[in-house]
């Protein structure tokens, strides 16, 4: 058991981070290459100015009309995405582990704050799931994969929360926590989570078509 834990807390972390980053880089290179080969015209229309204009407009909370039409979903989604990065990266126990390995550290979130934020992430995920069941147009689009993706994100946060409180089977929960966190990283490049990379690209393209060719706003 100990050697297993040592593996998933050691080499396996490396492997998942490499797959996560490497996968995204590989994907990006692949996209840019394929654009050059199959749709080179795209490079004639994308401009940095209009790409940033569009991405920027969509980063300002409640700025796009689309966001104002669905303020609850958009607001929760916006916070969720921030927490998704904020909580794991600024969690004291994560920073400790990184410090042990690399002798670097940064300020951590107060544990009880992190605890509440984790609950926030979990609540957001539950909200997403309920929305998939309750809102007809979302339900119409939803398939098993969508719940699976929610589960993939839910697991590391839920187990993290449970592990922190050490209510039951601490060791097992921790193992699941580590594994599910690694799983999430690994599948990002190979699932719809790759919108992490794709979304800025599609936004940049559409922003350029609107800003440069159509001379109109796209938010």
């Amino acid at each position: 058991m100990n050697s297993f834990i040592a593996f998933i807390m050691g080499p396996m972390v490396w492997i998942s981070v490499i797959i996560f980053l490497g996968g995204l880089i590989f994907k990006l290179v692949g996209i840019l290459g394929a654009v050059r080969q199959k749709e080179p015209y795209i490079y004639s229309y994308v401009t940095l100015k209009h790409s940033l204009r569009s991405i920027g407009a969509w980063l300002i909370p409640f700025f796009p009309r689309s966001a104002r039409l669905s303020p609850v979903y958009y607001g929760i989604s916006y916070l969720f995405h921030i927490l998704l990065f904020l909580v794991p990266l600024f969690l004291a126990s994560h920073i400790v582990l990184i410090n042990e390995a690399f002798q670097i550290s940064w300020p951590a979130l107060n544990d009880s704050v992190a605890d509440v934020l984790t609950l926030g992430v979990i609540a957001a995920l539950i909200f997403f799931a309920v929305r998939r069941i309750r809102v007809p147009e979302v339900k119409y689009l939803t398939g098993a994969m969508d719940y699976l993706l929610i589960l993939v994100v839910l697991l590391p946060f839920l187990t993290g929360f449970l592990a922190y409180h050490q209510w039951v089977a601490y060791q097992w929960i921790t193992v699941i926590h580590i594994l599910s966190g690694e799983l999430m990283l690994i599948i990002i490049p190979f699932s719809r989570f790759s919108h992490m990379l794709n979304a800025p690209l599609t936004r940049a393209y559409m922003g350029s078509e609107f800003g440069h060719v159509r001379q109109a706003r796209d938010w």
Binding site: E39, Y73, R203, Y205
Partner: protein, 452 residues
């Protein structure tokens, strides 16, 4: 308008579905191999990373729903939301690797040709900017190759391929119409000319084929404005005069490119400096954005000035003066292809305010306008589909009614026809006019003389 039950079935609206002979006879000829081969060819060979990204990236969040006038007009029936249209066409085609049935294709033709105006409003509501109109055009391209495009719009494409205009206007009919309009317009300006093939003129004026076919008076009005404003202009006597392009909407990219080539090369042959075009939206999009690309022109090789921008120029430069402003209460419809398509909405408002006394906005407006429901080739699928077109754009009728305006300005041919139907169907008690109609009505009929 619709019960909750049937909202979730596969019958998208309460209106009875007409049978389209072109779709039906096309479907009959198809074999499973042919279907698979065409779908694979279009989706795999003719697309690239852009399509792949759109398919991979959609998170099924449903934010596009509220963008779509079909969805809003059909009591939020999920089948009409943009992403659902992709789900019921492209996703299935990909999932089954092209092994889809005739019934599936019959539905795909309808979704792509009749339940989407390719207005791109949803691209503004998707946080990722996924271009669903592009994917609907891909489906249309598949339909084109499978020869199951609806009859009436296919006939316009056939006309384009033979005559290079949309309405089977024969070479002599075109010239004859111009000469007839010139003759009539001489009642107002005795020396008015519609100069044909004048090499070296500043402007080539171009129209869409419905003008010589049904609305020749619009050419008269344009000639009057050109003459009064003292412009150096010409019109071509040979094919290449029509800037419309229905092939762009059926996915017949080859014919679409051929039309656009002829158009710009006609301008090149006449050695004009720029092209001015009448109040049409899709034609504008075809020449400023789409037809040029197939020919390897990144941007149109000649500056293309839409009527809206041209009126703005004539009025703000004082080349045309308004005798007395139009008095009735007017509202303005923003055609997708000139507002969301080309950002001309602010100029349009300036022109309306220069010409009219009482202008009231409809909401939402500018880039966020609702499509007229006729655009993207939908109205060109013909009279059999008029009934559902009316149902599918109830939201526009509500928007129009809320303005309380007496006159609706629709500076686009497609919008004009589509909204005329809407006004009639929903009994809105509004007159509909082109912006050119109002300028012609209110302008001083005298020839511009530049200050010494």
């Amino acid at each position: 308008m619709q019960t909750k039950e049937n909202a979730m079935t596969d019958t998208p609206s309460a209106v009875e579905k007409p049978t389209d002979p072109a779709i039906e006879s096309g479907l009959e000829r198809l074999t499973p191999e042919r279907i698979r081969q065409v779908i694979q060819q279009v989706l795999k060979k003719e697309t690239g990373p852009r399509f792949k990204a759109y398919v991979e990236t959609c998170m099924r969040c449903g934010l596009c729903a509220d963008a779509c006038s079909y969805f809003l007009s059909n009591d939020r029936d999920p089948q009409f939301m943009p992403a659902a249209k992709v789900k019921n066409t492209v996703w299935q085609m990909l999932k089954k690797d092209g092994n889809v049935s005739r019934d599936f294709l019959r539905r795909a033709v309808r979704i792509s040709h009749l339940e989407c105006n390719a207005c791109k409003r949803c691209a503004m509501y998707c946080p990722f900017g996924i271009d669903i109109a592009y994917m609907m055009l891909l489906v249309r391209r598949i339909c084109h190759k499978l020869e199951i495009t609806p009859q009436y719009i296919q006939d316009t494409v056939n006309s384009h391929s033979v005559t290079l205009n949309q309405m089977w206007v024969k070479d002599d009919e075109w010239i004859d119409t111009l000469q007839w309009q010139e003759e009539d317009a001489r009642d107002e300006f005795e020396d008015l000319q519609i100069p044909l093939d004048k090499v070296g003129a500043d402007i080539m004026y171009s129209v869409i084929a419905p003008e010589p076919k049904f609305q020749a008076g619009l050419i008269y009005q344009a000639a009057t404005m050109m003459h009064a404003a003292g412009m150096d202009w010409t019109m071509p006597s040979s094919p290449g005069w029509d800037n419309s392009n229905m092939a762009m909407y059926t996915g017949d990219n080859e014919i679409s490119g051929r039309i656009a080539r002829k158009f710009f090369e006609t301008a090149a042959k006449l050695r004009v400096k720029r092209i001015v075009m009448g109040e049409c939206g899709h034609a504008f999009r075809s020449v400023y954005d789409m037809g040029n690309r197939w020919n390897s022109w990144v941007m149109p090789p000649f500056e293309v000035v839409h009527a809206l921008a041209f009126y703005h120029e004539l009025l703000t430069q004082g080349r045309i003066t308004i005798k007395e402003k139009y008095k009735k209460k007017v509202t303005l419809h923003d055609p997708c292809n000139v507002s969301r398509g080309r950002g001309l909405h602010d100029k349009a408002r300036e022109v309306v305010n220069l010409v009219c006394k009482d202008f009231v906005e409809m909401t939402p407006n500018r880039e966020h306008n609702y499509c007229c429901g006729a655009g993207g080739g939908v109205i060109n699928c013909g009279p059999p589909y008029k009934g559902e077109r009316m149902v599918n754009n109830r939201v526009k009728a509500e928007q129009l009614a809320a303005t309380g305006a007496e006159v609706l300005i629709a500076p686009c041919h497609n919008c004009h026809s589509g909204l005329e139907d809407i006004i009639q169907h929903y009994d809105l008690k509004m007159e509909i006019k082109f912006l050119g109609d109002l300028i012609y009505e209110t302008m001083e009929k005298k020839i511009y003389e530049p200050e010494a």
